[in-house]
């Protein structure tokens, strides 16, 4: 701000429209929030998004396998040129929304993958793909994870997210793999599914009654 500029707090106002201005910015924040939620839901189903009113730690008594990664702040800023406002440049809306969403989406992605990475590393559940065939790395990864069965005993296979080009490389490798490898992989998947169903049956048995 130039030295001779009038401080905002003391500046005269001319038809302030305070309430309307606040409402418009609130609406824009909600719009950005919805877009960010939509981005998050590419990775998480909406029923897995949780909302808490107060601070403090998260605890999961009776569920020792749940990991608490703590609270992270996400924030984004965007500005508008006074001239663009005066020019009534409606493109400003799209630019600001894109800027805010870009920042928030990037932070969300970093947080999510960072959390998964931390959790995996904390228990040594990491596979190094370097120096081995992609299909072998995939097999090792599957060996290390524990899949879960739904209450109807269908299997919840984990969602796979890979970087640019990695998916194509893995697909090509899998297609070109030997029959023996494919059979070995299927056997592993069946074994994993069977273990999952066994665990789910044991879990359901802990209820006083399950199903009709």
């Amino acid at each position: 701000m130039a030295d001779d500029a009038i401080p905002v707090a003391n500046a005269a106002e001319f038809f302030s429209f305070d309430r309307e201005g606040l409402a418009i910015h609130t609406a824009m924040a909600r719009h950005v929030g919805r877009a960010t939620d939509a981005f998050a839901m590419r990775y998480l189903p909406p029923e897995n998004l949780q909302r808490y009113a107060h601070g403090g730690s998260w605890e999961h008594p009776g569920a020792d396998d749940v990991r608490d990664s703590g609270m992270r702040d996400h924030k984004a800023e965007s500005g508008a040129q006074f001239d663009a406002i005066v020019d009534h440049d409606l493109k400003m809306i799209a630019d600001m929304v894109a800027s805010l969403n870009g920042q928030l989406n990037q932070q969300f992605a970093q947080m999510m993958f960072g959390t998964v990475e931390e959790a995996a590393e904390s228990v040594g559940n990491v596979v190094d793909a370097a120096g081995q065939a992609p299909e072998e790395a995939y097999y090792q990864m599957l060996e290390k994870i524990e899949v879960r069965a739904n209450p109807d005993f269908s299997i919840r296979w984990p969602t796979q997210i890979a970087g640019a080009g990695a998916t194509e490389r893995l697909e090509a490798a899998m297609n070109g793999a030997s029959d023996a490898f494919k059979a070995k992989l299927e056997a592993l998947k069946e074994a994993k599914a069977a273990e999952a169903r066994e665990r789910e049956a044991a879990r359901q048995a802990r209820f006083k009654r399950y199903g009709r």
């Binding site: 107060h54 403090g56 605890e59 569920a63 209820f207 006083k208």
Partner: protein
């Protein structure tokens, strides 16, 4: 200096004459000039009998501007009043039949004069027909150039006749003036402990009496936050009856109350909305700021809250919602929570608890009568229909929660405790009799009130009713797979949420579904308290994988904060954390820590009823739960 201007007008050029207005003014004038009662300055105070408008204006000029700086100014008027174009006028002898703005004393004019003279405290007592027009005038008076001026720290107004009502007269004088004199002369006792009274305290007493004894609905508003109560002395207090009021006032702690004064305009603004547009957080923000500015002087904090309570309870009585006084009192009490470890504050908080308890008793009794006369009395008066599919269940939770809380607001052994228990039992019966199909879990806004109601029903041994309540809620949770609305759902989103509830498809209202919710925790823990294992456990699988949360604060002194920092968000997954309600109870109860004393406990319960995004989980913990396990 203490100045009194008393006006009584029997004779009118264009209105019907009155019989006792002059004698009322004389009686009040004489009483308030007595050193042991009002101690007003005899040399500068004035009594006007059937004056003209010019005589009133002249007297106002003399008493307000010709004397030394005024500490307390009291204005009494008995005579005809009238409302014209939204303004209230006091009619002098020569008032015209038309054109009151030119020929009568408007309340706005009186306030302008007071604002300019700026006494520390101004008291206005009007005993006139159509005095209820003063309510309409409040909007005008709230303009900053009238009473919001920081140089006018306190204005209190009592008006003892309502619009379309004539100020009633008896052989002894007007009912309003007689009720006022009975209090200030000690025939009607408010208490025998306070050395002096504000007009608000007296006004509340007069108001209660006139409501009971006549068809009057008096108006009391305003407050004095600056210095001691200074309208008149409490003649029934135990000290020397001949001691002048000015001596009594000198013993008032000379504590700085600039904090209250600086926020006077904000306070007036929220005060004026208590009876219609009640928003507890907005109210609390102003009170919190005042109390924070007085943190170094607990005596001043306690005094400010006492005054605010007197004024705000009375203002809340103007609301058609009979629970409003209890809600306002609770918001005020919760503001005291952070300071409740200080003895002076704790005493004030305990007194406030009793007043809130009284307010709940009055509201609950009114509700029982209404339900006995009309089983649909709990439905919305203006927007029933679809809206009540959501609001009625919420209302049911609230009436049970608030009346359930009342028993904990009185000292042990107080007869009102038994009254509160009986009232709660009656209401529980009425709800189950008339509204069992609306005992459903629609939103997390019900979690705190149902936690209170279920815990209280269990505590009082109302087993059958408590089982019915918990059972109905459990069945509804299962029916809707525990889809309850967030406590802060926008009113505009409720219709869509109800459609989701009807169809089972919540796709369009995902953001308003509470995840994790609190209602499920309330119902399951209540089931454990009530021993409903055989009822709940066989069907618990139907909520498999549902997650709910129980937030427990680190310090209950901050349980009224908008955002509570610290504490523990305890998350529970059905079929993950536990598989039957005994297992949940065993894991949860030791973690649901309780406030350290009964006062904090009562205030925490009221905080949860006032701000529905928190739940007093300790009410649902097993009594024998041991020390909390480490996180």
């Amino acid at each position: 200096m203490r100045i009194l201007l008393a006006i009584g007008c029997n004779k009118y050029d264009h209105e019907s004459p009155l019989e006792v207005a002059e004698s009322d003014a004389e009686r009040v004038f004489k009483a308030l000039l007595r050193p042991e009662i009002g101690d007003y300055d005899a040399a500068h105070s004035e009594l006007l009998l059937s004056p003209t408008l010019d005589e009133i204006r002249g007297a106002l000029k003399r008493v307000l501007f010709d004397a030394s700086p005024i500490d307390t100014f009291t204005f009494f008027f008995a005579g005809h009043g009238a409302v014209e174009s939204g303004s209230f006028y006091m009619l002098p002898k020569d008032s015209p039949s038309r054109g009151l703005s030119m020929g009568a004393l408007s309340l706005a004019d009186l306030f302008r004069a007071i604002g300019e003279a700026a006494p520390q405290q101004s008291n206005i007592f009007i005993d006139a027909c159509e005095a209820n027009g003063l309510i309409a005038d409040l909007g005008v008076l709230l303009k900053s150039d009238l009473i919001g001026d920081a140089d006018t720290p306190g204005v209190t107004l009592v008006a003892t006749a309502a619009q379309d009502q004539s100020a009633e007269e008896t052989d002894d004088g007007g009912l309003g003036a007689t009720a006022l004199l009975d209090v200030i002369e000690g025939r009607d006792v408010i208490n025998d402990t306070a050395p002096a009274f504000d007009l608000v305290e007296i006004g509340r007493r007069v108001s209660t009496r006139l409501r009971a004894e006549s068809n009057q609905t008096p108006v009391v508003w305003g407050f004095n936050l600056h210095g001691p109560p200074r309208f008149c002395r409490n003649i029934r207090a135990g000290d020397d009856p001949s001691r002048p009021l000015r001596d009594v006032l000198q013993v008032w702690p000379d504590e700085p109350q600039e904090g209250a004064q600086a926020r006077f305009e904000d306070l007036w603004r929220v005060y004026s909305t208590i009876s219609d547009d009640w928003r507890p957080r907005r109210f609390a923000r102003v009170v919190d700021a005042i109390l924070a500015s007085l943190a170094a002087t607990p005596g001043a904090q306690a005094a400010v809250v006492e005054r605010l309570a007197a004024a705000c309870f009375e203002r809340a009585r103007l609301s058609p919602d009979v629970f409003r006084p209890a809600q306002v009192g609770s918001a005020l009490l919760v503001c005291l929570l952070p300071y409740s470890s200080i003895d002076q504050i704790a005493r004030q908080a305990e007194a406030l608890c009793e007043q809130i308890g009284d307010a709940v008793l009055a509201a609950g009794a009114a509700l029982v009568s209404a339900l006995d006369a009309d089983r649909y009395a709990l439905l919305s008066k203006r927007h029933s229909g679809v809206a009540d599919l959501f609001l009625l269940p919420l209302r049911i939770a609230n009436v049970l929660g608030w009346t359930g809380a009342a028993t904990g607001l009185f000292p042990p052994g107080d007869p009102r405790e038994g009254e509160a228990m009986a009232l709660f039992a009656k209401l529980l019966d009425r709800v189950i009799e008339h509204y069992s199909t609306s005992v459903v879990a629609v939103g997390d806004g019900q979690a705190a009130p149902f936690a209170v109601a279920l815990a209280q029903a269990a505590h009082l041994g109302l087993t059958e009713q408590a089982d019915a309540l918990a059972g109905l809620l459990f069945v509804d949770l299962i029916k809707h797979r525990a889809h309850v609305a967030r406590d802060d759902i926008l009113p505009e989103a409720i219709f869509d949420f109800l459609q989701g509830r009807a169809s089972g498809d919540y796709t369009t209202v995902q953001e308003w579904v509470s995840r994790p919710d609190a209602m499920t925790g309330v119902v399951l823990l209540a089931g454990a308290r009530l021993g409903l294992h055989e009822v709940f456990d066989p069907d618990l699988w139907r909520l498999d994988e549902h997650i709910f949360t129980t937030y427990v604060p680190e310090d209950y002194g901050r349980f009224g904060d908008q955002l509570i920092t610290g504490g523990r968000n305890l998350n529970w997954t059905i079929g993950g954390s536990f598989f039957d309600i005994a297992e949940l109870d065993g894991l949860a109860s030791p973690r649901l820590t309780s406030p350290s004393n009964p006062l904090t406990m009562a205030a925490a319960v009221l905080a949860a009823l006032t701000y529905p995004d928190r739940v007093p989980w300790f009410l649902l913990a097993a009594p024998s739960a041991g020390p909390p396990p480490s996180p």
